[in-house]
Amino acid sequence: MADQYLDTVEKGLALHPAQASTSAAQVDALFWVLVAVCAALVLTLVGLVIWFSVRYRAGSDRPRPGGIPDKLGHRIELGGAAGLTIAFIALFAWAGSLYLYLYRDPGGDLLTINVIAKQWMWKLQHPNGAREINTLHVPTGQRVRLRITSQDVIHSLYIPAFRLKRDAVPRLYTTAWFEATEPGEYHLFCAEYCGTDHSRMRGKVVVMTPQDYADWAQENGEGESPARAGERLFTAYGCSGCHRGDGTVRAPRLDGIAGRPVVLASGGTVIADGAYLRDSILLPQKHVVAGYEPVMPSYQGQIGEDEILQIVTYLQSLSPGDWITESGG
């Protein structure tokens, strides 16, 4: 069982989950404010109910007020509604801005780990090629990006100690990022129901000091990096024949395309994100680039999900002009 070597978790009645990332404290702050607001409202209500229940019980002979006049009643209702609306909008603004901060890809050159979910395991690959299953090693003090997809049903990557959750959806690439703070071992769960062994699709996150991580990566990283593997596959599947301009067929150049807008033959523009690149391999006719013929064959059924992810990683690692300097002209 994965949890047997999780010695950092408390046994017995824990009242607070571990905080092991920079966002954990931010999420918890919002959470506890929300809890405080809700508790205040519930206690006010329960207090009033109990007070009225005792004071105005059928048996008590205390004189009854004639009831609240209509005008005052409307004021209480409208005042309550207005007060709550303002409070809720403030909470919404806080929660929404934090959500955008936590969920929007920060951009830049982060340590990017590929995550592929399948029934019922997590397959992970580090930039230096180290592969893991159901265990994720990460360093502290560094932003880590996860590039997540699924090769069968919907799963959800959940690391409670990081307050992080992101669904792994077939056909979509989702990304998530975090910055771990506390070395230790934490749970990694699948949070979206995915079939028989959903509850056993869990593992652990091992947070290490940067030095330890470097050592670990050194030790385990003898395989090719995903980008390097992607480059190899790019040639092996014959992509380079057209896309690097050596062949007779004209195809768009791909160095530095990732993350940039692409003008399409249909007149629209899309950003060449991971999902676009993936679609272009499997459904090449979906977005034909302006000025090119729709001649690329589909690789549907001929290429594995992990291979696609490697090619995407490779393309995303390129900058504009990379191929020119490489080939000397």
Partner: protein, 527 residues
């Protein structure tokens, strides 16, 4: 006090006089019988789930069985108990009485609804027996379409069929409310129970068909290979979630609005006060029904939906909480200056008030996007919606049953025992579900058969609470049954309540009223 000579119950004793009846009161009884059966089937599944969760290892049943158990619990409880619960039973029985009508607008359609309901139930029960279904009540694609090896087609067909039952009931209620009101009963004189059922019916008529279509597409995909959600063809798995929640979020309001109606009737009666802010209550009910339709995306904050869609849906979700909060404020204010009697219905109603408030406010916590990243699909969500659906709707259902039982049967039940049952429900419910908030915050995911050890203590507490809760459910069966046999006659109006339903005999005659009643004032004319 004595019973009337003839009433709807002794008007014919044959099986035929029940199965082919078009009397809304008898049809209500048929619903009582069927949904009670479904409630105990769903409850049995829940009990097995809770027993399994006593130990972390997942050793009582195997994973597939566990998955089928929680799926059966969800499907049965949502579509075969909660959605029809108050509307199809008390709504059916009381709406014509409260409106001063002789029956619903379409009595035969009403009977047909029951048969459709039962047919859908048979489909789903066949699915449960023929190997079960393991998709969860949400039927998410592509698991349900391409990967599950269970009886998805049968189960989804059952839910599809039962949808038409709620559509037809809703349609019947809307037309009845528009066309069959007694002389003088204007819209702003309607009891809030009628308003709540009217709003519920609107949701049933307008939301259910979208679910029907989503389920139909799943059935077509599995049975005919029409792969609308197939990712291989470029289908979008999230599209199913959108269509599903377009129904299923409003369905949450199907599962709570009628409860709000019931509680409004009970609190006014036992506080001996008119409802505080009648107009505000009506506006809130209708606002909830409308705004409930544009918040569905809050089920998909971590699903891969666009961040901006998430922001929009979160905003509307915060707003929809306001009318609900106004309603709790108004119920509380109704108590002010009253003469409060603590009968069983009142204890249920006050329990509802507390539990619904907790359920609603934890909904606000879940609507807070950044926090939902952590809490989504954990036990926090499970606890939240059980506070609404069980703490809210089931409590209101039992409260309503205790309130109108004398009217429905003409008999009085045991006062002390009913108070014990109501308290057992409140205590057992909190013991069961409060620990689940903690579990969720600690990171325990939903639908887990086996789980890490550190969650065990809270799971054990929850299971023990479920035992107390079960007592709260079983006890009423006993003293209600006893009252049918040995209960004292109730008289026309044992609670001294207003409302047209109390102006006829208990039990009411076949055509409800000897003379059509007329209404001259506002409802809840207490004091």
């Amino acid at each position: 006090m004595s019973e009337p000579e003839t009433h709807y119950l002794n008007d014919g004793w044959t099986l035929r006089s029940w199965l082919l009846t078009t009397d809304h009161k008898r049809i209500a009884w048929m619903y009582f019988a069927t949904i009670t059966a479904f409630f105990f089937i769903g409850g049995l599944a829940a009990l097995l789930v809770r027993l399994e969760l006593l130990t972390p290892a997942g050793d009582m049943v195997d994973s597939d069985t566990y998955n089928k158990l929680f799926s059966a619990h969800g499907i049965v409880m949502v579509w075969f108990f909660l959605v029809p619960s108050i509307p199809a039973t008390m709504g059916n029985f009381l709406l014509p009485l409260m409106l001063g009508a002789r029956d619903l607008a379409f009595p035969k359609l009403n009977l047909l609804s029951w048969y459709i309901f039962t047919l859908g139930g048979l489909f789903t029960m066949t699915a449960v027996i023929a190997g079960g279904v393991d998709t969860g009540w949400t039927f998410y694609t592509p698991y349900s379409t391409l990967f599950s090896n269970s009886a998805v087609v049968l189960a989804a067909s059952g839910v599809f069929v039962v949808g038409f039952s709620s559509i037809l009931t809703g349609l019947n209620f809307i037309v009845t409310t528009h066309k069959m009101r007694a002389p003088g009963l204007t819209w702003m004189r309607l009891p809030l129970f009628c308003w709540a059922n009217y709003a519920t019916s609107l949701i049933m008529v307008l939301a259910t068909p979208v679910l029907s279509m989503a389920l139909l597409l799943i059935v077509l995909e599995r049975a005919l290979g029409i792969g609308i959600f197939d990712p291989e063809l470029g289908g979008d798995p999230l599209l199913f979630q959108h269509l599903f929640w377009f129904y299923s979020h409003p369905a949450v309001y199907i599962m709570i609005l009628p409860g709000m109606g019931v509680v409004s009737e009970i609190i006014t009666c036992f506080a001996r006060r008119p409802i505080f802010g009648y107009t505000g209550m009506v506006i809130s009910i209708m606002a909830i029904a409308l705004f409930g339709f544009i918040v569905w995306g809050h089920h998909m904050f971590v699903a891969g939906q666009s961040l901006y869609a998430g922001i929009l849906f979160s905003f509307f979700t915060f707003l929809v909480a306001v009318p609900s909060a106004i309603k709790t404020l108004n119920w509380t204010a109704t108590l002010y200056g009253g003469r409060i009697r603590f009968t069983a219905p009142m204890i249920y109603a006050l329990s509802f008030l507390g539990l619904f408030t907790i359920g609603g406010l934890t909904g606000v916590i879940l609507a807070s996007l950044a926090v939902d990243i952590h809490l989504h699909d954990t036990y926090f969500v499970t606890a939240h919606f059980h506070y609404i659906m069980v703490g809210g709707m089931v409590t209101a259902y039992l409260g309503g049953l205790h309130f109108w039982w004398p009217k429905i049967t003409g008999k009085l039940y045991s006062g002390p025992w009913s108070i014990v049952a109501a308290l057992a429900l409140f205590i057992g419910f909190n013991l069961t579900f409060f620990p689940q908030f903690l579990l969720g915050f600690l990171g325990m995911p939903r639908r887990y058969h086996a789980y890490p050890e550190e969650f065990q203590l809270l799971h054990v507490m929850s299971t023990l609470g479920a035992g107390v809760l079960a007592v709260g459910y079983l006890l009423p069966m006993v003293y209600f049954g006893w009252s049918l046999w040995r209960g004292k006659p109730a008289g026309d109006n044992p609670w001294d309540a207003t409302g047209l339903e109390w102006r006829t005999t208990s039990p009411p005659p076949k055509h409800n009223f000897v003379d059509t009643p007329t209404v001259t004032g506002r409802p809840y004319d207490y004091v």
